[in-house]
Subunit: 332 residues, 2 copies
Amino acid sequence: MRVVITGGAGFLGSRLARRILERGQLTDASGTQRKVRNLVLIDVVPASVTDPRVDIVTGDLADPALIERALTPETDSVFHLAAVVSGQAEAEFDTGMHVNLDATRALLERCRKLARPPKFVFTSSLAVFGGVLSDPVRDDSPITPQTSYGAQKAMGELMVYDMTRKGFIDGRSLRLPTVTVRPGKPNRAASSFASSIIREPLSGVDAVCPVAPTTAAWITSPRSVIANLITGHEVAAAEFARAGFAHTRSVNVPGLRVGIGQMIEALRSVAGEAIAARVKWQLDPVIDRIVATWPANFAPVLGPALGMRADHDFEAIIRQYIEDERPVAEPR
Amino acid sequence: MRVVITGGAGFLGSRLARRILERGQLTDASGTQRKVRNLVLIDVVPASVTDPRVDIVTGDLADPALIERALTPETDSVFHLAAVVSGQAEAEFDTGMHVNLDATRALLERCRKLARPPKFVFTSSLAVFGGVLSDPVRDDSPITPQTSYGAQKAMGELMVYDMTRKGFIDGRSLRLPTVTVRPGKPNRAASSFASSIIREPLSGVDAVCPVAPTTAAWITSPRSVIANLITGHEVAAAEFARAGFAHTRSVNVPGLRVGIGQMIEALRSVAGEAIAARVKWQLDPVIDRIVATWPANFAPVLGPALGMRADHDFEAIIRQYIEDERPVAEPR
């Protein structure tokens, strides 16, 4: 079985790659469990996963030649994670359209030409929601995104569903909650603060929180989101119809609703007052406006029916981060 | 004022052109009523409207050179009507994507480069709806199209709204009901029968109805749809927010719910039994499946709040067709 991950050098992409290599097998579109013999990681920078099964491909994802080289005709599955994040897509409209729309379309077009219609897991986002929404947001809540990132992801979902309906692919669009705690440096996602306010204090560095403590977010841990990406791939296409959702392939991935103030409380409880005090509140109107358009409370039905699971509490997510990413944690 | 109509040689485009020429003026994005000095009609075939104010442009709408020539920097308004219709977009996926998505995007991209952000009226369709829907369909009902045409129109709406939000254009997406009675020949719209079953019998020709008499449709007369297109252009941007719809520029245009059997009853009542008997029922599963995914019952709130109006009854629509398109009507 040949599996491709776009954004394969990124935070989620590299973890997904490692998880797939550990599992060693996946279920193809015909429902057969098969060994993963080839895992192709595409990104703008080379992925650092080393394994004899891994091929590294570097370049612009909207380049048809690169896509053709990476998605050989015998490709069975594509996880399409590469994206320009929300803050950058809002500031650089053309860059967002190029990567989030054009590259997604180019990949889907290539998938039509493969030997068999592949499974196609597209990472969409809760940012497809916005405007006037029910509380909680339901699986069929209206898609009226209020950011360019959300609009581009929503267009991707429409293509994934339509091409699935046409039999070109077996697609699944997973609307991910905000993933936290991410290691490394802040990125240009408007949600980047949701990791910084935990990660930086734990490293003994001050962090700025650009949104109000009363703002809430719909979040997932890295472990849960990787598990849900695998589930989103593994589940049989027929399960969508069985759950009463034959008319869509878009899934609100289960998450945890948490107030930003509560996140700092959890940090205090896990790591102590001195660390929690490193968070400085300083409202950034641009970030706050983007984040405020995203709903924080969902009542997912389809995701759980497909076997997806949410985290239980934010304290556990912080402990998970310390365990996975910071072998030498700060003393309490 | 310079106004561009794509699909300007088509049924709606040429009628819209005549209506704009009659009015002589439109309201620009700044809210100023201005004389229409230039009306540009773009289509694959030359438009037949003759008026000193009219420029005819012929070619492929996805061609940037053609768009640049037609949308000069001083363009104030664009009515984007050109589209590959539903039946053809379903049969020829690439053609549909090329015209319905690529050409729409190319036009929008050009609009960003004009001297001032223009008004942009995009003709979307009730085909953006499908799947599991409330009855009646509300303005905020979920967008889960079950045809490629609907998916492409939904992507166009997302771009129109996002570019409006960014200040690139002042966009309005009007989801048109099925327009009937159209003169001329059948086209490849799955809804083409909704005109044929009235038009052909009135010309003394048999017509085949490919859907069941119990199937219902959400329809509009040509006169009403032209009036609503003008209203959709004229209304001030602030009216969307005033009506409680600041988060969208997509409007479910008011229509009339009518059963296909009722349409034939109306034909009988207006034109007599001999003419109504010319309709032969012969189910076409492909057409029937496409039409069945479209809802027929709506409860529009935004459209009426913006001043849009529906037809009152189907008999009046048939009489309107006879008056407008068949100066010498068949005797009863």
